[in-house]
Symmetry: C2
Subunit: 478 residues, 2 copies
Amino acid sequence: MLESKDMNESHQERMEKIVSLCKRRGFIFPSSEIYGGFSGVYDYGHYGTLLLNNVKAAWQKSVAQERMDVVLLDSAIFMHPTTWKASGHIDGFNDPQVDCRKCKSRFRADHMLEEFGINADKQPLDWINTELDKLREEKKLVCANCKSADLTEAKVFSLMVKSNLGSPTDALTEDNVVYLRPETCGGIYLEYKNTVDSLHPKLPFGIAQIGKAFRNEIVAKQFVFRTREFEQMEMQYFHHQSQTNNIFEQWHNYRWAFYLDYGIPESKLNWHKHDKLAHYASDAYDIEYNYAMLGGFKELEGVHARGDWDLSQHSKFSGQDLSYFDEATKERFTPHIVETSVGVARMTLAFLDNAYTEEEVGEVDVTGKKDTRVVLKLDKRLAPVKVAVLPLSKKEELSVPAQALWKKLSKKMFVEYDDTQSIGKRYRRQDEIGTPYCVTVDFDTLTDNAVTVRDRDTMQQERINLDNLEAYLVEKLG
Amino acid sequence: MLESKDMNESHQERMEKIVSLCKRRGFIFPSSEIYGGFSGVYDYGHYGTLLLNNVKAAWQKSVAQERMDVVLLDSAIFMHPTTWKASGHIDGFNDPQVDCRKCKSRFRADHMLEEFGINADKQPLDWINTELDKLREEKKLVCANCKSADLTEAKVFSLMVKSNLGSPTDALTEDNVVYLRPETCGGIYLEYKNTVDSLHPKLPFGIAQIGKAFRNEIVAKQFVFRTREFEQMEMQYFHHQSQTNNIFEQWHNYRWAFYLDYGIPESKLNWHKHDKLAHYASDAYDIEYNYAMLGGFKELEGVHARGDWDLSQHSKFSGQDLSYFDEATKERFTPHIVETSVGVARMTLAFLDNAYTEEEVGEVDVTGKKDTRVVLKLDKRLAPVKVAVLPLSKKEELSVPAQALWKKLSKKMFVEYDDTQSIGKRYRRQDEIGTPYCVTVDFDTLTDNAVTVRDRDTMQQERINLDNLEAYLVEKLG
């Protein structure tokens, strides 16, 4: 009965469809659109907000609530500026940029080289410019936008976003500049000591947090995949060096299992081992997801062994003792760290990409053609709205009990109420936003005290007594 | 049996006790402490994060989930800079500052005048300096820190926080400066059109959002009451002008009822009507809470009628039509707005202040003295941890079933596991973080399949069969 129509579409087509659905149905809007837009930033509408909330709740439940060995933190976006000297971000968090002198487009030089199959990952600027020059001589290097060959050489620009918080004066100088964090883990390192002093956790243990971070990306593109303002979910797991291999493997498996649990098929996931490690890292893998809308596998989540770099550096720059004393072994040492790190939008986009489905349905429409439906087959725990209450008519006979039902269910979950147009159209609207259950209140309800419950994925309908409905839904929604 | 010890303490004492508890037990840490601190910003530890999450969830449930007429939004911190020209923030969002030339302390000039009973609210700078000069002549004006009379005249400083997001160059100029939002409602006005176009809500309806905002406060003080980085919960309710009075009263009552529902006694709440309204406002009230730790009533939440100022201004500056067409009356008009606005930290601080209790308990300790307990009597829905599982011994006989119980309950809620020190000490630890229920697994559990459940507030204990425990707790926790 259900036939997938997705097979032959190009990834650009799929991208356009999903971006369009996101805007049309109130998931994701381009920022500041009435003022002509603000690049590299997105706003989340009603359903997008609910979806993000559910994605974050799923992560927090898995990484903290269900683990005796992980605690939470919610540290501020702003930190003491020395934080980013210690971490190496002020000196080293740069990207190489090439400008088109003709159309003023900006490009990442490493991405330009990648187009020619040249891997510039972690290469110095000189090396990059030498490679660009070779392409220039071969007349291969042109602006991707206007095709002009009049491109600048590569220069490095800091990704760090600056601010005058705390200094309400006009000029930003080296003395008063503060930074918006480029990643949330910095806050975890700074609060490692307070966490240990207040909660007295025994090693190994983790600190997890969700929060916004900011990067002056040269090119923000691919919808919400890479944005200048974004939200991260990071967990830093502190342990003795001798445990690194075991712990790395445990988190490796634990995070992989998370995606399977939330409905991503294993065939769409891939482990990518980093060839070049940061100088402090002992091992680094990314979980890649095959974004059909982006045309292939892209980094989704990082699982990295960071050694004792972070606490050592912050101890050195702050002069504070960040070592741990193990009562059992009487050993004092600086804990090593395994981190897991994923962007909220990137994870949400993976779930959206995986959920977006077009199906030819067996139902024949008024014109005699087979009907098509768009349905977001999100895991029910992630679905923005759990239930839609649909009275068959706007008459008071039905609206009174339907609204009473809405009110009762709304104490437990987000519930939609829709009494406009035909039931078929209302089902389609709920399919498009991924609502797992539609509950129709009809005239029989007035005599049999029951409603029709329609399942999003199977489109099967079941008659359920109103007295059992809440328990039925709670059980089905998991 | 229970006797309150709070009666005669000064508010400074209470402040110190609560700030100390927050740090000692992992609720709230000063930011960047290992680097000497970062003023006006705080980090939230494990229990603080959970408490904030629950406060935000309570607001969202009340303001959006349980209301058919309110939708959500999660708009970005960064917006097009014209947003803040239209809103009047760039020209008018200033505070008057006085500096001490001797010790370099900074003061809000209006707060200095307030100390002398002079209300400088919304007064121009000239007026403020005239009043300061009078005090100067009377030799009454000295630095609150070092008592020097060598103070500057008042100057205005913008509260807007600047950034170079999108312009990764060194200099911040008028051309490339962007702002961190000083309030979240700006995002709601910018996404009003996309919300209407995607969700088709009928007036009246509201858009609610939770998010961070930033202000270059001259003086950040009173713990988390006034900080430079903070989180807001704002709801903008769009309606026809003729409905303003009714709607204003409805939200007035609705928000007041929220605090009563979450355990704030009516005697600690107060309505403060603004004497001086912003030029666009038709009515403005604040809900004030009597913060015992701050020595009196302070603004908690604003409920303001903003007229059609916001949408009119953004329509004028963007050239976009932000009017609404009413199908029923065939009238086209710019919606008026009633807003409710509250800070997450300010609300959390009210709940903490209200919950913090010291009690002499009837139990006599080993030295023969009556014992005192500190208990956070938070509403159970707000409590960071819902249940603590406490095995009476560390022996495997008890740890195996206790950990199995922890694991089962942790699928539903945040549960603590504690097997260190005496049961009495463990109860006190849970009281201090406001855990509603302690569940003791003892040797009898192995034969009667039951556990002892102790209630935080009454300290009464009940023996509950393990088969019924989850249902018992879920029902009690609401």
